[in-house]
């Protein structure tokens, strides 16, 4: 299992190390740094060195490198490292070098709780938060006055129960349960505007603040839509198999109840189209003309539209005019950003102008691609609908709310 963990910043310094099974010299990270130098954006997740195996992840500008000595499922380690970062984000609302350095004591205590002898011990955020309280100003002041510490001296109740994700004795004055149905459209659209591939990746994120031990049941109008689902451990799988309802005792606070996948059976509606034209010839000025318009949005406004065009290497600069939003072109990364915002159906956003091309460049084979971002509120593009939410086990009446959002996921247009 995991022998040691090193956390490395973007400039290649090891700024935190923790050892479990034995002390491994930090020089082992050199193998990782070498791979990172060779290809900063594409470091292999597993690196075999003569005596160790380095399994690493990169998130938020820091790399977590786990050192293993023996055969171990790589996904086991990768998944755990991501869980570590998730926990840090949960605690400190961010996971960057400065945040980790600032809270190194809590970080160290967390790592100590999460892993025992290289094997995960407590990774459930609810349990960890009871063991080690997240830092905030009020508590720090209180601790200095009363002499208490952030570390709990008793075992969290959840750890022993059959529902480790929920702590006991939760109490709220306003009992609320909010569900966000978020759908992301993944698509590849080819030059001619034909959809090569499209699918919907959906999530149901919850914010549940209910007292006691509520037992919730969530049902859908059209559960047959789902191709594939994955659940938070709290969901009773058999109820789902048999009745297609989500029955669960929720964790306290924010969590992801389920994620689902809709692809094969239903035709995925593409809510936006991009008309584009880029003509370049060697030794000349090129012309770029892009228009964005809504398509199949069921009458909802398309908002937060952003377009990123990854230009071919030969394009030096762009001189464009847009009728809506701002644009900028980064000549180093060759990316043209165009921030449109809300699409006005009466006057479609358009950007056009000239691009300057490097002399002598090979312009015959270029295929820039466009990444599109957008958001549509109050719409689930798959037409998924929550039917009802019932609560058992508690007497009070909770306030319930469901929100639908459609977003662009990995939405790519080939030019």
């Amino acid at each position: 299992m995991i022998h040691s963990l090193f956390i490395i910043n973007s400039s290649g310094d090891v700024f935190l190390e923790k050892h479990w099974r034995s002390v491994v010299s930090r020089s082992v990270c050199d193998y990782y740094l070498e791979a990172q130098r060779a290809n900063p954006n594409d470091v292999p997740p597993v690196i075999a060195t003569p005596h160790h195996y380095l399994i690493s992840i990169q998130r938020g500008g820091v790399s977590l490198v786990a050192v293993c000595m023996q055969e171990v499922p790589p996904l086991f380690v990768i998944e755990f490292l991501h869980r570590v970062v998730d926990t840090f984000q949960d605690y400190f609302s961010d996971c960057t070098e400065s945040v980790i350095k600032e809270n190194y004591v809590v970080v160290y205590e967390l790592l100590d709780e999460m892993l025992d002898n290289g094997f995960p011990l407590a990774t459930e955020s609810n349990i960890l938060k009871e063991l080690i309280k997240p830092p905030n100003i009020l508590r720090t002041i209180a601790n200095t006055v009363t002499g208490k510490s952030n570390v709990s001296d008793s075992l969290p109740t959840g750890q022993l129960s059959n529902i480790p994700w929920r702590r006991t004795g939760v109490k709220y004055t306003n009992n609320e349960a909010y569900f966000d149905v978020v759908e992301e459209v993944d698509a590849i659209i080819d030059k001619a505007g034909v959809t090569v591939f499209a699918e919907i990746q959906g999530y149901i994120d919850c914010c549940i603040k209910l007292s006691g031990m509520p037992d919730l049941t969530l049902s859908f109008m059209n559960p047959r839509l789902f191709d594939d689902v994955s659940f938070h451990p709290c969901v009773r799988f058999r109820r789902w198999e048999a009745e297609r309802v989500l029955s669960f005792i929720p964790p306290d606070g924010n969590f992801r109840l389920m994620s689902y996948h809709i692809s094969s059976q239903s035709v995925v509606a593409i809510p936006i189209y991009v008309r584009h034209n880029l003509s370049i010839k060697t030794g000349e000025q090129g012309r770029l003309d892009v228009t964005v318009g809504p398509k199949q949005t069921l009458g909802r406004a398309v908002e937060g539209v952003k377009i990123e065009i990854l230009m071919p290497k030969c394009i030096l600069n762009c001189c464009l005019t847009s009728n809506q939003g701002k644009y900028n072109y980064d000549p180093v990364s060759k990316i043209l950003h165009w921030d449109i915002g809300r699409i006005d159906v009466t006057k479609l956003p358009n950007i056009r102008g000239s691009v300057s091309i490097a002399t002598g460049a090979n312009t015959s084979e270029i295929n820039p691609s466009i990444n599109v971002h957008f958001t549509i509120n109050q719409l689930a593009i798959s037409s998924l609908k929550v039917n009802r939410l019932d609560m058992y086990g508690e007497k009070y009446k909770p306030f319930k709310g469901v929100k639908y959002i459609t977003k662009a996921g990995r939405f790519q247009i080939r030019m």
């Binding site: 998944e79 600032e102 993944d186």
Partner: protein
């Protein structure tokens, strides 16, 4: 964005006071090259030491935080060890935790000092708070000091029987740690593992299986009994435990069940002979799986819906390696879902998918489009997806794939483009219908401006033509025509090579090409020149009439080339053109125009099936350290009866449910509805599955029948190990009334101690029954009273209560020691004597007889104890106060003192009519024990248990060996134990307060005596040894 910023700000603020100026900041920004480094460093440690020594918790905490900062940064903080280790006793939980962290990091380097902390952990192991117990065990087992192995072993054994499942989980975690420290403990650890595997709590099971796979994966026999339980509990185990269990069960399945695809393989080879109708009938009756095999697959299936990628992968590999081929696609969808996850996950999953798709195209064909490549993917992912796309290519979908591949060629990622062209080649190779169109497409690519594209296309064309039986004439002619326009050297060279190989097919063109190239020879690139020479020789061999002169001309040009490689090659090849009669020349055809083997165009993932899917070894495509290859299915699977659960376990389960109605309901709900109904509702309800279910039900009903309790038969069951016997005993006790049962239940809860201890050696015991109770929330209430009993050091003897017997002392000192002389006592003198008899008030008190003598001429009245100044933990039972002591008279009194196993003197004040006087009684360590005896066998086993730090030895030269035992008796209140060895004497005693065993062994070797003292309390052992040394001298 704004909210994050404010969040950081607040963090900043909150932790500001943890960062003293000059504290952490320089740690991070320190420059090792600067001159003041060592100096300032040294000084800073000094102030840290000061802070650690202070009385204030806040200062200590501050210091510890800074030290942890140094540890985190990887800087050496080992010189602070002595200062830090002292604080292990700190009451402040956070300080304690940080000290633990520090200790684990540096204990290995400072073994001697680390031992100082051991007793603290031993004490913490008896704490009523389960978190502290577990924490102590975690740290104790993490200290990698081989001396404490026996202590850790003892702690693990006791923790494995703890009331709290959390502590038991920690015990499971500690097992691999101890195993890595001392491999010799394996047999004992295995018994603990066996016990933990039988645990019913989901919290424990995952860790127990982890310990099993790390310590004794070869002991498949341990799994038989728990197999069905593991399968049913699988859904409820935490995600990390699920991964470990599924991986372990995959191995188990490979050794215990028949190959589910055995019949399929036959079917596959015969398939062409069957028509479709018979095929269907064959499918209708698949070979029946072992019900347990089916149970495993069925209970793992819901885990495919887990949010944890590692769990999904573990189940996918289970299905891949152990399920019938027809069920393989079940896991495909879940694996494809993982492609939405982080790139690292994608990379590993794609790797596995590529491997599966090599062997089995059908599985992932429906998800073909999920493997289409985006420009934003990292190169690694792109290449993996490309490989999968190529693997999945069939006649029906190849057009879609090719269209995709075409768009990829214009990517700016060169490595990716090259791989794409190779992928086209592979598609063309595997699907004959498209070979021609692929070739044409590739030929078009030859005119690409990009050198890499051209070179790769030529190479691929070359390979394709080699593998093709068809006539390549057309293409060669086309390529020859392109020769004028292509400038890329590699491509030109490749064309020339092809032309040379197939010159017989194009007899008119080849000499003409050579003629053209002869003209431009001097301007060509080196590799082209070499190929021109090759072509020339080959043409000369096949067609000497037309090309002889041309060939000679080319060779002459080459002879004076600037590049020596070319001159060399020319010299070499010339031998074949000039000297026709030479021996070499006669073999020219065989040398140059031999049929060359076609390069193999296949996925880089072929051949990986020998490695377990999803393993580290599979990913790096070589065997990693500690990798055990998956065994192949046995030809004749072992009988499945071994997995039939022994009724004793079921019975206990039934009992615990009966004992508490409400609890039983809860239990049923939790594990029937959560777990075992999972398979039933999964509605597979195939004929094979119903078999196992019904057997489960049988087991439950059986348990209901045998609802008697084993409580009354405790003794019996302890001695019985076989299930059958216990079964019979339980049926005997069936008649017992239920009213009695509840009483016994109470008994069971109240005094589990002797049982626990006794059962240590026996894996199957009604200890499990006790463990079952811990789901009840009353556990914490019960713990305080039990905590003391359950701990190892307090009283290890009860577990041997019967074999170890207290005996009367062998020697009683008669000489009194003066406590108060008559001058200080103003006429009252007191002497005391250890009677070595148990005190009536408490067995842990030392019995001291006092003699009061009045040497004055007046009566002394009211002699009594005044102030008592006692060390912590000691207690005293006063003597009867004496109302009158006449002159020259003596009276006796008896005093009982519990010294708490320490030789700290008891300071007393004696009041009398003559005034008060202070006295103190200091016992010898030898008086603080009671003599016991035991058989030699037990003596030896106990002794072997008390090795390491608990053993003290010394060699003493002795004048005479006659009165050896008498001397021992004089020094310590012990008794002789039988010894069969000559010259060896054994003595045993028990400390009064803690009842720790004290074993003394003396071996006489010519004038020398080797004395060995074994005692759980290290201090007692070493003090006793010193005293014995004194006596012998």
């Amino acid at each position: 964005m704004l909210s994050t910023a404010s969040g950081t700000m607040s963090n900043n603020g909150s932790y500001k006071n943890d960062w003293t100026p000059g504290g952490m900041e320089p740690d991070y920004s320190i420059d090792p090259a600067s001159g003041g480094f060592f100096h300032s460093d040294y000084k800073k440690h000094d102030d840290l030491k000061e802070m650690l020594d202070s009385n204030k918790d806040s200062l200590k905490l501050e210091a510890m935080k800074r030290i942890i900062g140094m540890v985190a940064k990887g800087r050496d903080a080992s010189d602070l060890f002595p200062a830090v280790v002292k604080n292990v006793v700190s009451k402040n939980i956070e300080v304690k935790k940080l000290v633990y962290v520090y200790l684990v990091r540096y204990a290995e380097e400072q073994q001697d000092l680390a031992l100082l902390s051991i007793s603290t952990f031993q004490r913490a192991l008896k704490e009523p708070n389960q978190l502290i117990r577990a924490g102590a065990l975690r740290v104790l087992s993490s200290i990698r000091v081989s001396m404490i192995v026996p202590i850790v072993m003892l702690a693990i054994r006791d923790a494995a029987a703890d009331m709290s499942p959390y502590v038991r989980k920690t015990a499971a975690h500690a097992i691999p740690k101890l195993y890595s420290l001392d491999q010799e403990q394996k047999p004992e650890l295995i018994t603990v593992i066996q016990k933990l595997l039988a645990d019913r709590t989901v919290l424990v099971v995952g860790s127990a299986v982890m310990a099993f796979t790390e310590v004794c994966p070869e002991r498949v026999d341990l799994i038989h009994q728990v197999f069905r339980k593991l399968c049913t509990l699988l859904v409820d185990v935490d995600e990390w435990g699920q991964v470990v269990i599924v991986n372990m069960l995959t191995r188990y399945a490979r050794t215990q069940f028949a190959d589910p695809n055995l019949h399929d393989k036959d079917g596959d080879s015969e398939r062409p002979f069957y028509d479709s109708g018979s095929d269907v009938s064959e499918k209708a009756s698949p070979p029946a799986l072992d019900p347990d095999h089916r149970l495993l697959l069925r209970s793992a299936r819901p885990l495919l819906q887990s949010r944890n990628a590692a769990v999904v992968m573990a189940v996918a590999q289970l299905y891949h390696h152990c399920a019938p081929k027809s069920e393989g696609p079940i896991s495909a969808r879940a694996l494809v879902r993982l492609l939405r996850s982080h790139t690292e996950v994608q990379s590993v999953v794609l790797d596995s998918i590529a491997s599966i798709s090599c062997q089995n195209k059908g599985t992932f064909e429906p998800y073909l489009k999920s493997f289409f490549i985006r420009t934003s993917d990292p190169t690694r992912i792109k290449l993996l997806k490309l490989d999968i796309l190529t693997n999945l290519a069939t006649e029906s979908n190849v057009s879609v794939i090719l269209r995709e591949l075409q768009t990829y060629i214009s990517s700016s990622d060169k490595q990716f483009v090259a791989a794409t062209i190779q992928a086209i080649g592979r598609c063309a190779c595997s699907i004959s219908e498209i070979t021609d169109s692929c070739l044409n497409g590739l030929v078009i690519l030859l005119s690409n401006k990009d050198e890499a594209v051209v070179a790769e296309s030529v190479v691929v064309i070359k390979r394709l033509l080699q593998t093709q039986a068809a006539d390549p004439k057309e293409i060669i002619m086309h390529m020859t025509r392109l020769l004028d326009s292509i400038t890329v050297a590699q491509a030109r060279a490749a064309i020339l090579w092809l032309l040379g190989e197939h010159s017989a097919g194009v007899p008119r063109i080849a000499p003409d090409v050579l003629r053209k190239l002869a003209k431009t020879f001097s301007d060509e690139h080196d590799i082209v020149k070499l190929q021109v020479l090759n072509l020339a020789v080959k043409l000369y061999i096949t067609n000497p009439e037309e090309t002889k002169l041309l060939c000679q001309y080319v060779f002459n040009l080459a002879r004076y080339d600037q590049n020596y490689d070319i001159r060399d090659r020319a010299r070499l090849l010339k031998q074949f053109t000039q000297n026709q009669s030479g021996k070499i020349a006669s073999q020219a055809t065989r040398i140059f125009l031999a049929t060359k083997p076609a390069p193999l165009l296949q996925s880089q993932f072929t051949g990986r099936e020998r490695l377990q899917l999803g393993s580290l070894s599979h990913y790096i495509n070589t065997r990693a350290a500690g990798y055990e290859p998956l065994p192949s299915f046995p030809e004749h699977p072992p009988p499945s009866e071994v997995r039939d659960v022994e009724p004793i376990a079921v019975m206990q389960e039934a009992k615990s449910t009966k004992s508490d109605k409400s609890q039983s309901k809860k239990k049923l709900f939790l594990w029937e509805s959560e777990v075992s109904s999972a398979p039933s509702s999964s509605s597979g309800s195939s004929s094979s599955s119903s078999g196992s279910e019904s057997s489960d039900e049988e087991a439950t009903t059986e348990s209901d029948d045998q609802s008697s309790e084993p409580g009354t038969n405790k003794q019996k069951e302890e001695t019985e190990s076989s299930s059958e016997e216990s079964e019979s005993s339980s049926s005997e006790s069936e008649e017992e009334s239920s009213g009695e049962q509840s009483d016994q239940e109470k008994d069971n809860v109240k005094k589990p101690v002797p049982e626990t201890k006794l059962n240590d050696n026996k894996p199957k015991s009604n200890l499990d029954l006790l463990l079952d109770l811990d789901d009840i929330p009353i556990t914490p209430i019960m713990t305080p009273s039990l905590g003391g009993f359950l701990t190892p050091l307090n009283n290890p003897t009860p577990n041997l209560a019967s074999p170890i017997q207290v005996v009367p002392p062998s020697f009683i000192p008669t000489k009194g020691i003066e406590l108060l002389d008559r001058i200080n006592g103003q006429g009252l003198s007191i002497t005391y004597r250890f009677t070595r008899n148990p005190h009536l008030f408490s067995s842990s008190m030392v019995n001291i007889s006092l003699t009061f003598t009045n040497t004055s001429h007046d009566d002394i009245t009211d002699i009594q104890l005044g102030k008592k100044n006692l060390a912590a933990g000691t207690s005293i039972h006063e003597f009867m106060s004496i109302t009158l002591l006449s002159p020259n008279c003596s009276l006796a009194g008896t005093l009982g003192i519990d010294f708490n196993d320490s030789t700290n003197p008891a300071n007393l004040e004696i009041l009398s009519s003559k005034g008060s006087s202070n006295v103190h009684i200091k016992p010898n360590i030898g008086e603080l024990m009671r003599p016991v005896t035991m058989s030699e066998e037990i003596f030896v086993t106990e002794q072997s248990r008390l090795k390491g730090m608990n053993e003290h030895t010394a060699n003493i030269s002795l004048a005479s060996t006659n009165d050896l035992s008498e001397k021992v008796f004089r020094a310590a209140n012990v008794a002789v134990c039988p010894s069969t060895k000559q010259n060896t004497l054994r003595f045993a005693g028990q400390s009064l307060t803690s009842s720790s065993l004290i074993l003394i062994t003396t071996v006489i070797k010519e004038e020398q005596v080797a004395i060995t003292v074994n005692c759980e309390k290290m201090i007692i052992g070493s003090m006793l040894l010193n005293e014995l040394k004194l006596v012998f001298k």
